[in-house]
């Protein structure tokens, strides 16, 4: 069939393929329901971007798009591309500017009734203690360049070593919160400057802190392994590497612009600019990107520490009574070296996940030992009014998506349309009527981030459930939200 003048073929109920054509090296594959296709919610440029990614040298099997896919720049948001490590390229555009933007889920011993009367106080205290908004600066003291270098070399451990976390926080962070062999040698002074005072800041836009409850459990045994129970108070943190990561990506793309011609690669979009993985330019980007990833894991760790202090302050509990602990921290903007089976043979690949989350199956040694029997937890935040999901990766994900899943609901409306549609409405009151207390830095952000601006995350998660890529464990419902 033709979709926005692009030929697509149905592979299964929720999986569609754009056949290889022109200079595409592999076909494109997109996870979508027929209903989503019929409603024409996928912008034609999203599919063009999926096709463009299929031009990257060394791409294997498919250029993939998850069901939360939407129009980005270079890669579509929700795009996954696995590239042959020996012969292929790395593209900073396949990671994005907010390197290691990701989500962290922490749980407590508390139930909804324990905090019901204190939700505004909790949110206001979190809002006061955690810097949010455009150009927010750190709640912890500005660090020196040498200290930042130490942070970059040990990732989340830096926060734990400075009393802002415990050992188990490291265990339950993807990659244990650190790319160990990264080098900060190629990082510009501008990037360092931007990194000095943004550790422990949320930022703006779609970044958020959400206080919520476990609203429904679908898989009791997996929920038990993850330490989840009904009505449990939870906290979600969504942010990334802040200005430090943005600057590293910007610097890397600028450098590649200067050297790109020598590689003799032809690309349909300049934003996909890339370098052979094994070239000095490719390695320089990868090691700098890893530093930014370490910064992001530390950022979320410090925010979690500030959040714990805020909860203790308001609730007047001991740490033991609060039981604030990390379930998992996962990245959704990253490139990682992984082993995957290609035509029955183990191959080393560089998986670019741009607005996509790793979703490894049970028994994978990259998963914390405690979760290895069930599969890797995948954190899928929805919009600020409806719900979010915890799912787990499956063997089907390993077979079909290079162990990848969606990263959220995906935008449905542009910011401009969201602003238009919010006119005359009181979003704060609408959320309040649904039992959600909102604190935000600006009315513009509230309008741009209103629930209707996003697809229904349940539809997104159900597509991957139906295709056996991930399995639902629990649904979370927000009761208090902070937006930057």
């Amino acid at each position: 069939m033709l979709y926005n003048e692009i030929e697509i073929e149905k592979i299964s109920d929720n999986l569609w393929e754009i056949p290889k054509h022109g200079n595409m090296l592999v076909p494109g594959r997109i996870y979508l329901s027929e209903d989503m296709l019929r409603k024409n919610i996928i912008h034609e440029d999203t599919l063009k971007q999926l096709i463009n990614v299929a031009h990257l040298p060394g791409i294997l099997k498919y250029s993939l798009a998850m069901p939360d896919v939407h129009w980005g720049y270079g890669f579509p948001i929700g795009g996954v591309a696995a590239i042959d490590y020996d012969t292929g390229v790395v593209s900073p555009g396949g990671v994005g500017y907010d390197i290691n933007c990701g989500v962290r889920l922490a749980v407590t011993n508390l139930k909804f009734n324990d905090v019901k009367s204190k939700i505004p106080n909790l949110i206001n205290t979190l809002y006061a203690n955690i810097p949010v908004g455009v150009g927010a600066r750190s709640a912890i003291k500005k660090i020196s360049k040498d200290e930042l270098k130490r942070l970059l070399s040990v990732g989340s451990n830096w926060a734990v070593n400075n009393g802002m976390g415990i050992d188990s926080d490291i265990e339950f962070t993807e990659e244990n919160g650190v790319f160990k062999n990264c080098s900060s040698d190629f990082i510009s002074d501008k990037a360092f400057e931007r990194g000095l005072d943004q550790v422990g800041t949320l930022g703006a836009g779609n970044h958020f802190i959400e206080l919520g409850i476990v609203n429904e459990i679908y898989n009791e045994s997996a929920a038990s392994v993850l330490g989840l129970f009904n009505n449990q108070i939870i906290l979600l943190i969504h942010t990334g590497s802040r200005g430090f990561g943005y600057q590293i990506c910007e610097d890397s793309i600028r450098k590649l612009m200067k050297s790109f011609n020598k590689f003799g690669i032809k690309l349909p979009d300049r934003q996909l600019i890339c370098a052979p993985i094994k070239s000095s330019e490719g390695q320089e980007y990868l090691t700098s990107m890893q530093c930014a990833a370490n910064y992001a894991w530390t950022n979320r760790q410090v925010i979690m520490h500030l959040a714990k202090k805020s909860l203790l302050q308001v609730l007047g509990l001991t740490e033991k009574e609060l039981g604030f602990s990390l379930v998992y921290d996962i990245s959704h903007n990253i490139a990682k070296v992984e082993q995957h089976l290609i035509d029955g043979k183990a191959k080393t690949v560089l998986v670019h996940r741009k607005g996509a989350t790793r979703a490894f199956a049970a028994l994978n040694t990259s998963i914390p030992l405690k979760y290895r029997s069930i599969g890797q937890p995948v954190l899928v935040p929805g919009d600020m009014g409806r719900c979010s999901y915890i799912t787990i990766g499956t063997q089907k994900a390993m077979d079909d998506t290079f162990g990848s899943s969606c990263h959220g609901a995906g935008r449905n409306l542009s910011r401009t349309k969201a602003l238009e549609q919010s006119k005359g409405r009181n979003i704060i009151e609408e959320l309040s009527n649904d039992g959600i207390y909102l604190q935000a830095k600006s009315h513009k952000t509230i309008a741009e981030e209103m629930p209707d601006a996003y697809k229904n995350v349940t539809d997104v998660v159900d597509i991957l459930e139906a295709e056996n890529v991930t399995k639902k464990v629990a649904k979370l419902k927000p009761i208090g939200v902070i937006k930057g």
Binding site: Y97, G135, R254, D269, Q271, L413, R415
Partner: protein, 142 residues
């Protein structure tokens, strides 16, 4: 001085089409666009900052100028008001831009930083000349 910009509807980020009668006008249009995206409030031209950049294409010049202005606003807390002097030179493989930008130190009592622009991207950045008008689209990651 003839330049213009119009926002393009984009699902996740901010995009616009800019036009200008010369390369300099195109940069002036891009400057006005970024100012509109980033800053609200009364900005005075108290101080001049010189920006001098080299690149291999006019597209790169535009990205580099906007990136520098974004850095000045978000990191240096210096908000820009106007460009009072601009020249662009092209030699064989190099474009050079010289700017005098006027503005002032960010003051939270009268300025608001409206948006955290993560970066100015190269997506669909392709300058075309149609009927003697320079034209391009530009996408901001926000």
């Amino acid at each position: 001085m003839v330049w213009n910009y119009n926002y393009i509807d984009h699902t996740a980020d901010i995009a616009a089409e800019i036009t200008g009668s010369t390369p300099e006008d195109l940069v002036l249009g891009a400057f006005a666009l970024l100012k509109n995206i980033l800053i609200e409030g009364d900005i005075k031209s108290f101080e001049t900052r010189k920006i001098e950049l080299k690149a291999s294409s006019l597209e790169e010049i535009i990205v580099d100028v906007l990136s520098e202005l974004n850095y000045l606003a978000l990191v240096k807390r210096w908000v820009f008001n106007e460009i009072t002097d601009i020249s662009i030179k092209k030699s064989k493989d190099t474009w050079e831009v010289f700017l005098d930008v006027k503005g002032e130190i960010f003051n939270s009592a009268k300025h608001i930083l409206k948006e955290e622009v993560k970066a100015i991207t190269y997506h669909n950045l392709n300058i075309k000349i149609e009927d003697n008008i320079y034209k391009t689209s530009i996408y901001f990651d926000v």
